[in-house]
Every structure is written in structure tokens, then in C-alpha cells.
């Protein structure tokens, strides 16, 4: 719970500055050198900005749009706004003018604090449509020398005005800070929906502070953490890690020199606490692998050898199985020769805790970093939950779950399979959109829009978007995409389409991977003439049957999903092809189209027949069409009874 004396971020900042006045609060790489600002400087800078805003007539409840790369000045501007009882509204710095205009207008922003000319230009345009925007304050004056607009003001000028204002009103700042209360609106974060206009998620000081504190307690964060603030300030995650948690613990936030230097800056800072979406983990891995392939063969062999060992050891550790003495010795050697140097080179040598969030990460990718000794964990959350809902606990990590709910957070799965949560971090509502708020919050429970299940250890697993879920005829939840992804995890399966909505059980239409299965067949001396021929070989059916059984067995561990096991399957006689409109160019299955085109096959899956004759139109590369006739076999899959250990 909150200490009544420090129930808002400005009060908290004052206390942190008192507690750790000389500790570095924020660093910024400028002109090639890391420039540090202590907590007392942090608060003083914010104070001058606040007083400058006050001199311009800032009133309680006013909104400040904040736009730019992660910069100390912009974090100070957020704190300054909150100190005056105002609400910062961070915007994505790469938004186009239209998007900015919508948000600036919708939020009724009176002030904007921006990084440089690029943002000034955009906001000057926005201002023509949003006359409510009275002042645009910029940090970097480059290129702005000849701008004459009266609404423009440099941050230095603003702070100078603040100094003068303070002479006349010495107690103003402290008085305004004291007027803040825990349940005041602290920030509005606009989230871009996939459809329609962005929604402004309103979070209070209490939302963010309690959530930050709960995560800090679970994760054991201290004031000695170093984080790199490089993800957009408008993203709830950055606000939580680089602002809220930093203010609560007093740890140091580091702002990189520019977006292009993040990886180099990462190495220089060596953060102890780091967060990245899967695509960044992926791109770091790619960079590493390219450099390994460029190394001399002896180094390359050594790295591959030890990486394979690390994966094996990590798999046993995750399964909580003992690691053999030999492997343990080798792993220690690998630590000296490969893992340690590699971590160091990536700037991950000091990481105690790292998170991946934002979207699903592939288990291999996560496993790679973990096997190297980087403690990467999955986090689940959304802006509406003050960024955090669940985090995997240290020593209790599974590659395919998002961990257990944080202290203070309750999560349940409703009858529709959707994840609902209730926590002190639950947002106040959407700004000026009570209809959307009412749709999302029901009796204090928030609809996440995600479908999930709890496994037997209480770990939450996100399965799909809730609206993509189907149901079997008896009402059992049926997540087609989830099953398909599990099937495609097998190297032998290239595509899969699962059917089951309003049917008695789940079935699958499977495309084999010609390369992998062809190779497998050759090694076993199985002759085949074509894709169609190979797909219908009984040996191949047996191979895929085992893969389906693997998927079914894995579902046993996933609560209600055990009922969605695949009972029957067939191997398609042709590859699903975007030219035939069966999948999109980005390889998304076009479920409806396939349902019609392969109706005969699907009927056969449910009729009990063991084979079916088909004719299919195919479009060749040159645009001609032809017909493929084939007899497709149908096989039962091995299903497992729930509750029985595999």
C-alpha cells in the first residue's frame, strides 16, 4: 500500500532526491560521452520546467504532449507536468501528423514538450487543426533559429522563466506537489488498436506505483539497477520501467545516443535489468550468428559445440532434471570459453533480470539466451493493467508460458476462454470513451482480449486472441491457431489447418514439408515420385501420426485444452499455395476459403471413412490451371485421456 506522504510521482521524486541526492538518476550519451544527472539534479530540472510551465499559465488538469526519443529532458517534463497536477501524454515519436493530430486534439493538450525540429514541424502543422495547443517547447534548437512562431519556446527559455517565477512564488512548486493525490490521473497512454482510432488509457498514480512496487518486490530490484531506456516513451512498458520503477527504487535510467547506436550503447552500459520485444532479441541473435559464421573454423566449431551443450543443459534445468557431472564440467568450461565472453560482447554480462514482452516469443529464441546464462523471462501485461500482469519467477521459468500473476493481481479464465484480470493496476478508463471502458471493465474485471489457460503449475499460457477461439459442439474450447502452431513446430509439418468449430471433435488437414519428409524418406529407402505420392505413403502417415500424438500429449498439461485433442487427420495431396488463394502471401491460413474448397475432405474426416477421392484445381507458375486427382487417406490420431500422466 502507499505511504500517504508519497502517494504521487512528484512526491516520490522529492523523497528519492532526499534519500539518494548524489546517486545518478539518469544518463544520456551526448557528444560521445555519457552525461550523468543525479537525483537532486533530476528533481531540480523538473522543478524549473514546472515553474516555467506555471509562468505560462499551466493549470491543474492541463495536458502536456511529450514527443521524442528517450531523453532526460522529456522524462523531466513528465514529472514537471505531474507536479502541477497536469497529465503528460507521451506520443510515439514516429507517428505521422494525422495520428498526432488525433491524439493532441482528443487529449486537449495545451502544451507540448518535444525533442527537436522534426517534432516541432509536425506539431506546428497539428496546431493549425488543434488551436487548443498553446505552446510548443523544444529541447534541441538546431534548425529552429529562424522560426518565428510565438507559440515556440526553447526548454532553456522555459526554465529561465521558471527561475524568475520562483523568485515571486517561492513556495508554489511545493504547494502544487502537495495538492496531488494517489487517485489523480497520472498519465494517458494512447494505444493503437488494430481497428479504429487509438484509445487513451488513463492510469492513476496509485495504479502505477502499486504495480511498480509489487513487481520490484517479486523481482528483488534495488537502487543499483541500470536500465537502458530505448523503447518508445509512449509505450506502457517504458513508462513502467524507465520512469515508475526508477522513481520508486532510485535506479539509473540510461538514454542512448540515438536509435542507431542502441546496441553499442547497450555494451557500454551493461544494464542489469533489460527489456526487449522478441524482434530485438531476434535481431541481436542474428547479429551474433553472422559474426560467428565469419570467425575462423576452429572458433566456429567451438561455439557451435558449446551452444549445443548449453541448450541440452538448459533443457534439463527447465525440466528440473539433474545435470550430469560431465555436462556440468563442460558447461563450466563453456562459461569460460564461450558463454561469458559472448554475454560480455552483447552487453549482457551484468544482466540479472531481462524481460521479453509485447508478443509471443519462440521457445527456441528464449531458450538460446537462457542457455547462455542470460536470465530472460516472459512478461505478460498491457497498458490497461499498468503494463504488468504476470512475470515468470526466477527459478520457475517455462519457455512457453508467461509465468504466474504478480502479487496483488488476480487472473481468471472465463467461460469463453478469455483471460480476465483484476488488480490495483487496473486503469481508470479510456479518456472520453465511456462506452469502450464499459465494454472492457466488468465488475472490476478487465477483459484482456486474449485467450489463455492455466497449466497444472499455475502458469498462465496465452493461446490466441480471444475472438479467434472456436468451440466444439459440446462447448469445449477449440483454439485452431494454437493447435496449428504446435503442429508446425515439427520440422516435418509445413502447414496445418485445424477444423473443429461446432463439430464433435478436432481434426487437422496437414501439409508435409517436402524437404524434411523427402530427406527422411530417402534415408529410409522409401521411394516416391511426387509430393502427392510422398504425402500418401503409409510410412509418412505413421511419421505424422507421431507428431500429432506429441501435440495431443502436450495438451493434457493445459487444462481445458485437453478436450481439444486432434482425433483424426489427413495429409493434403497438394501444398497450400497463395496462388490458389488457400493462404495469404504472409502465410496466414484462409480458413473460410479452405472450408469451402476442401469441404469433401472435411466431411470425410467426420464421416469415419478411411479414404476419400479428390480432384483439385491447381494454378501453375505460368498461370495455366490443371487438375490433380488423388486418393487421400484419413487416419485416426492417438488421443490421451485427461488426468492421466503421459
Amino acid at each position: 500500500m502507499l505511504d500517504p506522504g508519497v502517494d504521487t510521482f512528484p512526491k516520490l521524486a522529492l523523497r528519492t532526491a532526499q534519500r539518494l541526492p548524489r546517486k545518478v538518476a539518469i544518463r544520456e550519451k551526448d557528444l560521445g560521452i555519457w552525461q550523468s544527472h543525479t537525483w537532486s539534479q533530476y528533481v531540480e530540472q523538473a522543478r524549473l520546467i514546472a515553474l516555467g510551465l506555471a509562468a505560462l499559465g499551466f493549470a491543474r488538469g492541463d495536458k502536456t504532449a511529450v514527443v521524442g526519443d528517450n531523453r532526460p529532458q522529456l522524462y523531466w517534463a513528465m514529472l514537471a507536468t505531474q507536479a502541477l497536477g497536469g497529465i503528460p501524454v507521451p506520443l510515439y515519436q514516429d507517428s505521422i501528423e494525422n495520428e498526432m493530430q488525433y491524439i493532441v486534439g482528443h487529449a486537449d493538450a495545451r502544451f507540448a514538450v518535444v525533442e527537436d525540429q522534426e517534432q516541432v514541424d509536425k506539431l506546428l502543422h497539428v496546431r493549425q487543426q488543434c488551436p487548443g495547443l498553446e505552446y510548443i517547447i523544444y529541447d534541441d534548437s538546431r534548425g529552429l533559429r529562424h522560426y518565428r512562431e510565438a507559440c515556440l519556446l526553447s526548454l532553456d527559455d522555459l526554465q529561465e522563466r521558471g527561475r524568475k517565477f520562483a523568485l515571486e512564488h517561492p513556495a508554489y512548486f511545493d504547494q502544487e506537489v502537495a495538492r496531488g493525490a494517489a487517485d489523480d490521473l497520472a498519465i494517458i497512454l494512447y494505444t493503437s488498436g488494430t481497428t479504429g482510432q487509438p484509445k487513451g488509457t488513463m492510469l492513476s498514480h496509485r495504479n502505477l506505483m502499486v504495480t511498480a512496487q509489487n513487481a520490484i518486490t517479486q523481482e528483488g530490484l534495488t537502487s543499483s539497477e541500470e536500465v537502458l531506456a530505448y523503447l518508445p516513451m509512449a509505450w506502457a512498458g517504458d513508462h513502467m520501467f524507465s520512469y515508475a520503477q526508477s522513481l520508486v527504487t532510485g535506479f539509473t535510467t540510461n538514454c542512448p545516443e540515438s536509435a542507431a547506436t542502441v546496441l553499442a550503447d547497450l555494451r557500454e552500459i551493461g544494464p542489469t535489468y533489460f527489456f526487449a520485444p522478441p524482434r530485438i532479441w531476434e535481431s541481436i541473435l542474428t547479429t551474433v550468428m553472422i559474426r560467428i559464421e565469419d570467425a575462423s573454423w576452429i572458433k566456429r566449431r567451438m561455439v557451435h559445440l558449446f551452444l549445443a551443450l548449453a541448450r541440452r543443459v538448459e533443457a534439463r534445468r527447465l525440466a528440473r532434471r539433474p545435470v550430469g557431472v560431465g555436462d556440468r564440467l563442460l558447461y563450466a568450461l563453456g562459461e569460460i570459453l564461450v558463454y561469458g565472453p559472448l554475454r560480455d560482447n552483447l552487453g549482457m554480462g551484468r544482466i540479472r533480470i531481462a524481460y521479453t514482452a509485447g508478443e509471443a516469443i519462440s521457445p527456441e529464441l528464449l531458450g538460446f539466451y537462457r542457455s547462455l546464462g542470460v536470465n530472460v523471462k516472459q512478461v505478460y501485461g498491457m497498458t490497461e493493467s499498468s503494463a504488468l500482469i504476470s512475470i515468470q519467477k526466477d527459478g520457475d521459468v517455462k519457455l512457453d508460458t508467461v509465468g504466474t500473476p504478480l502479487p496483488g493481481v488476480e487472473v481468471r479464465i472465463n467461460e469463453a476462454g478469455e483471460v480476465l484480470y483484476r488488480s490495483p493496476g487496473v486503469f481508470l478508463g479510456y479518456h472520453k470513451n465511456p462506452a469502450a471502458t464499459a465494454e472492457t471493465i466488468e465488475d472490476g474485471w478487465v477483459h484482456s482480449g486474449d485467450a489463455g489457460v492455466f497449466d497444472r503449475d499455475g502458469h498462465l499460457r496465452i493461446v490466441d486472441r480471444a475472438r479467434d477461439l472456436g468451440r466444439l459442439a459440446d462447448g469445449t474450447i477449440f483454439p485452431p491457431k494454437y493447435l496449428e502452431n504446435k503442429l508446425k513446430f515439427s520440422p516435418f509439418i509445413r502447414e496445418a489447418v485445424c477444423v473443429g468449430s461446432d463439430r464433435p471433435f478436432a481434426t487437422a488437414l496437414i501439409n508435409i514439408d517436402l524437404g524434411a519428409v523427402g530427406n527422411w524418406a530417402e534415408r529410409r529407402g522409401i521411394a516416391y515420385t511426387s509430393y502427392t505420392d510422398l504425402a500418401q505413403r503409409p510410412e509418412v502417415y505413421e511419421l505424422i501420426r507421431q507428431e500429432v500424438a506429441r501435440v495431443n500429449r502436450s495438451l493434457l498439461d493445459e487444462g481445458t485444452l485437453a478436450g481439444a485433442q486432434i482425433r483424426r487427420f489427413l495429409l493434403l495431396h497438394k501444398e497450400l499455395d497463395p496462388d490458389d488463394q488457400e493462404i495469404t502471401r504472409t502465410r496466414k491460413v484462409r480458413r473460410g476459403f479452405i472450408g469451402e474448397k476442401y469441404a469433401a475432405l472435411i466431411d470425410a474426416l467426420y464421416s469415419g471413412a478411411d479414404h476419400v477421392k479428390v480432384e483439385a484445381q491447381v494454378t501453375y507458375e505460368d498461370g495455366r490451371t490443371g487438375t490433380v486427382r488423388a486418393e487421400v487417406r484419413i487416419r485416426d490420431a492417438e488421443a490421451f485421456a485427461a488426468g492421466v500422466a503421459p
Binding site: K29, D30, L31, G32, I33, R142, G143, R145, H146, E257, S258, A260, T261, A264
Partner: protein, 260 residues
């Protein structure tokens, strides 16, 4: 933008002959302080020769050149550079094996007061001097947004970035007059836009007078205050971008009228 001040550099009836080739023929041109002047003309018109004469690479066969009111026709290139004229080259001329930072530092050489012994020991004034120059170079790196390649060997950079590094090196000399020989040649549209913005920013922030050779007419019309057109070594037009664009002699030179 156009702060048409006193002439910074005057080229007075300059001719350059290479054997039988008349590269420049009685060309006169005044570059005013603070302006961006574009020198245009078809291939072989004498644009680069003019730049080379200004920067002291060539000595004119006839005519005089005055910089800040003083005659400097006979100075060697390094003396010209010391006066405050820096240039970039049509073909990038960087030290390919050196880092971007070191390349730009070479632009500061003229500003450094060397003492062999102290420099070798990296002690006292030598160290202070190095720090001061490094700080200046860092401001240019920041200005041209090349932080991410600070330590990359120049030879490994894509062409557009090499051009930008060359500009950075020229700026490191704190020039009064900056000569750019086709700064945007071989660039894609996005790189050109970036380069235009940097040229305008340099002019605006540092007040540097800029003379550039450029073929892309839309670029020329966008960024220059003053355009001079050359053809067959003679100046055929001189004025604002609009005036030059409408000039019949320029149109003829570009569209190709038969010269008998």
C-alpha cells in the same frame, strides 16, 4: 535565408588553359558571404576546374582571385585551407582504413599546434588540445547524425554515408567558405533529402558560405540562393534560381543547341 552580404570571394576574369583546352574563359563570379551558390552546367563546362581554382589546386592562367578582399591567386592549397576554405571531392577521398572519427579529426589538423615531443608523450597542453579538438569533432558528429558509425572504418561505409563523413571532415576545419563538388552524386532520393537538409543546416547554424556543384536541378532550385551557369568554360548566366532557370542560354546549353 539570403543575407546577401559583401562578396566573400571574387573570381575576376579567370582563365585556365590545359594545353589547347580552354577550361575556363574569362570567368568572373562573386560569392557573397552567407549564401548558398550552386554552379551548374553540362559535363565539361568547367565547374570542377572553377572549384579547383578557388581551392588553389590549379593556378589560373590569367585573372585574379580575392578572398575577404585580399588577393590570393598564388597561394598553394594548404594555405588556401588555412584561410578558411574547405572542400569535398567529386569522388570520395577518405582514408579508408581509418575510423570515421579519425578521418574527421584530420580536418582539425590545421587548427592543431603541434609539438612533436609533447604529442608523442600525450602530456600537458598536447592532451588538453586533443580533448578540445575531440569535443569539436563530436559536435559535428552529432550535427550530421553519424554517432552510430563513429568507430567504423570509413572504407566499410555505404557511399552516401562516406559523402556525409567527407562533409564532416570539411566542417571540422571550421571553414568560412565550403566547396562541395557534387555532394549528392550517386545518392538515392532519401539520401539526397538528408544531404540537402544538412547543407541548409550548416549554412544556417554556422553561417558557412557554401558553393556547390550539382546536377539535380530540383535540388539546385530548392536550396540555393544564387546560381551560376557555365558552358564551355564561359559563364552564361548568374542570378537567382528563377532567373537562371528562365535564361535562354542555359536552356540552350542543357537542351543542346548546335554550336558552330
Amino acid at each position: 535565408m539570403s543575407q546577401a552580404g559583401a562578396p566573400l570571394l571574387e573570381v575576376d576574369r579567370v582563365s585556365v588553359r590545359f594545353g589547347a583546352v580552354q577550361a575556363l574563359d574569362q570567368v568572373s563570379l562573386a560569392i557573397r558571404r552567407g549564401e548558398i551558390i550552386a554552379i551548374i552546367g553540362p559535363n565539361g563546362a568547367g565547374k570542377t576546374t572553377l572549384l579547383n581554382v578557388i581551392s588553389g589546386f590549379y593556378r589560373p592562367t590569367e585573372g585574379r582571385i580575392r578572398f575577404e578582399g585580399r588577393d590570393r591567386t598564388d597561394l598553394a592549397p594548404y594555405d588556401v585551407a588555412a584561410l578558411g576554405i574547405a572542400r569535398t571531392f567529386q569522388n570520395v577521398a577518405l582514408f579508408k582504413g581509418m575510423s570515421v572519427l579519425d578521418n574527421i579529426m584530420t580536418g582539425r589538423l590545421l587548427k592543431m599546434k603541434g609539438s612533436f615531443l609533447l604529442d608523442a608523450l600525450y602530456w600537458g597542453p598536447a592532451k588538453a588540445q586533443e580533448l578540445e579538438h575531440r569535443a569539436f569533432v563530436e559536435r559535428i558528429i552529432d550535427f550530421l547524425e553519424i554517432q552510430a558509425i563513429r568507430k567504423t572504418p570509413a572504407g566499410r561505409l555505404p557511399y552516401g554515408l562516406q559523402k556525409r563523413v567527407e562533409l564532416a571532415r570539411a566542417l571540422a576545419a571550421e571553414p568560412t567558405l565550403l566547396l562541395l563538388d557534387e555532394p549528392m552524386a550517386g545518392m538515392n532520393v532519401e539520401e539526397k533529402e538528408d544531404m540537402c537538409r544538412f547543407i541548409l543546416d550548416v549554412n544556417e547554424e554556422f553561417g558557412t558560405t557554401i558553393a556547390l556543384i550539382e546536377h539535380d536541378m530540383s535540388v539546385v532550385m530548392d536550396i540555393s540562393d544564387h546560381v551560376a551557369a557555365l558552358d564551355y568554360g564561359r559563364k552564361i548566366a548568374d542570378g537567382t534560381p528563377d532567373e537562371v532557370r528562365r535564361d535562354q542560354a542555359v536552356i540552350d546549353a542543357y537542351l543542346g543547341v548546335s554550336h558552330v
